[in-house]
């Protein structure tokens, strides 16, 4: 730096280069964003396309008029409403179950190290294991118990998918709460359970809510267990969607409409809870 004097021309040149770089940067950001959002755009636009517009060549990138007929048919003829209701029942119930059991276990593991490394390892292995490997033994058990094709079978089996996640992530949130708060409450004469309810839980609420939202989305999106454990009586949204390809011509408009409904909760979570997304997706390994 010392001794060099920048002339006006030098400064102007540097400004030009900087401007060029930032233009390039934003152009690249825009292009990659366009690529990554295109599949979502295509399904969203497809939901509003009129009959025949899907099988049009060249493809229609922006429909002339927006039609809502696809939504109507998807929700009635194709059983979308039933799927929506079932998905909602299953996701809400499972989220409640997982959150209640999960909070207690997570607090116990996070604060008191119950089960030590062995339990941690057990929960983490469950979290990492592909759900498909549990499908057959669970199927045989549920079949024996005559539970196939009921809501209960999904409430229960989704606990297996979501509870390790909830416990692991919430354990991290509980570990973040300073221990001093509990000690102070204990010295004041509160019982351990009162301390937990009145002092720890309120501080953990943001973490619990975020975890519960993730669990809701995972249940909402789940396909494999629903495919195996249910038939006709209890069809969730992904199952209804997958079943729509059965006919001789695939009803892409209706599939797009129902898909758009199916992905809306996930998109809302992404847009409003971005701050917590990295923590949830990395199972708490990155605090974000």
């Amino acid at each position: 730096m010392s001794g060099t004097v920048l002339t006006q021309a030098d400064i102007a040149r540097r400004k030009r280069i900087r401007f060029l770089f930032s233009t390039l940067r934003f152009a690249l950001i825009f292009i990659s964003l366009a690529i990554f959002l295109f599949p979502v755009y295509w399904i969203a636009i497809g939901a509003f396309k009129g009959e025949g517009e899907f099988y049009h060549y060249p493809p229609i990138f922006w429909p002339n008029h927006f039609s809502f007929e696809n939504f109507g048919r998807a929700l009635t003829v194709f059983g979308g409403t039933q799927g929506l209701v079932n998905s909602l029942i299953v996701a809400v119930t499972n989220t409640a179950l997982v959150t209640v059991f999960g909070v207690l276990l997570a607090y116990s593991m996070g604060r008191f190290k119950v089960g030590g490394d062995n339990l941690s390892f057990f929960v983490l292995s469950l979290l990492f294991a592909p759900p498909v490997i549990a499908a057959m033994p669970l199927f045989l058990v549920f079949k024996t118990l005559r539970m196939l094709d009921t809501h209960q079978v999904l409430f229960l089996s989704y606990v297996l998918i979501n509870m390790p996640f909830a416990v692991w992530v919430m354990k991290g949130f509980f570990e973040d709460i300073p221990k001093g708060i509990e000690n102070a409450a204990l010295l004041d004469g509160y019982s351990r359970f009162q301390t937990f309810l009145k002092y720890v839980l309120p501080l953990a609420v943001p973490g619990i809510v975020v975890t519960a939202l993730f669990v809701f989305i995972f249940s909402w999106n789940e396909f494999l267990f629903a495919l195996i454990f249910t038939r006709s009586k209890v069809q969730t949204l992904p199952i209804v969607l997958a079943g729509m390809t059965g006919g001789h011509q695939i009803p892409w408009g209706e599939i797009s409409a129902l898909s758009l409904i199916a992905i809306t909760p996930g998109i809302i979570l992404t847009l409003f809870f971005q701050k917590y997304l990295v923590r949830g997706l990395t199972f708490g390994a990155v605090k974000g």
Partner: protein, 302 residues
Amino acid sequence: MARMIRPATIQESEKRFARLLALPGMIVLILLVAGPLAYMLFNSFLSKTLAAPIPPHFAWFRNYADLFSDGRFWNAFFHSMIIMAVGIPVQSVLGLIIALLLNKKFPGSKIVIALFLIPVMITPVVAGFEWKIILDNRFGPLNYLLGLLNIQPIAWLAKPVSAMISILFMDTWQWTPFVTIVLLAGLAAIPKQIYEASSVDGSSASETLWRMTMPLLRPMFMLVVLLRIIFIFKIFDPVQILTAGGPGMATETLSVLTYTIGFKNFNVGMSAAIAVIQLVIITIIAKIFIAKVMNRTEGRAK
């Protein structure tokens, strides 16, 4: 409120309280896991099928031996490995580039990052449909755009190699944003002084990237690779929708094969054996994960 309590009793009561809290969750998990797990292990030694009324009989390691000598198992194993070997590096590089583009804040950068993340949380079944539509050889927008470049329409999902490429497209689309968000968190954790120091040194931008940023990001890359390996072992829904393992068995992954053996062929013994094998692999990965990732973060928390 001053009470005299011996430390030992405090510890005792604390332990009892903690165990009581853990009990309901543990019971649920053990009921859902231990029983089926033991059942699965037992089944893996049986010759047992639901497809024909043949009573199950003990077959020792027959299922495992059959599996290891079966080309279809290695075929599926190979496909899962291809997705890892090609997908993870491609997604890491793309994810890094996008992370570097987004690292410096600008007005609206938070919204842009959120928009980038939409593919990660999308219903996997819908992801399968999205790509099925995009890759459609007659009406799909991709072939149309390629046609503008004078490239003949490609029947993406009809040929083995291009079907595999389609799976990789879909996987890369869905998981590159995941890499980006992890690396962005890593970049945000790098102290500003490090960049200031290197700019005082007169290092060029690329020198700073390779000498400073990349080594500091290494733990994040480690995390991404481990998690992606785990996710790829799990991948089922979008593949089932996009190709269902086809054409033929050209895109059959381990999860899809496990499903097919169990619920298309109804071979209980064999499906248990393939499940046990995957469980062993995943357990090893969980061990590595704890050693490489968890201990490090716990160390930081102290």
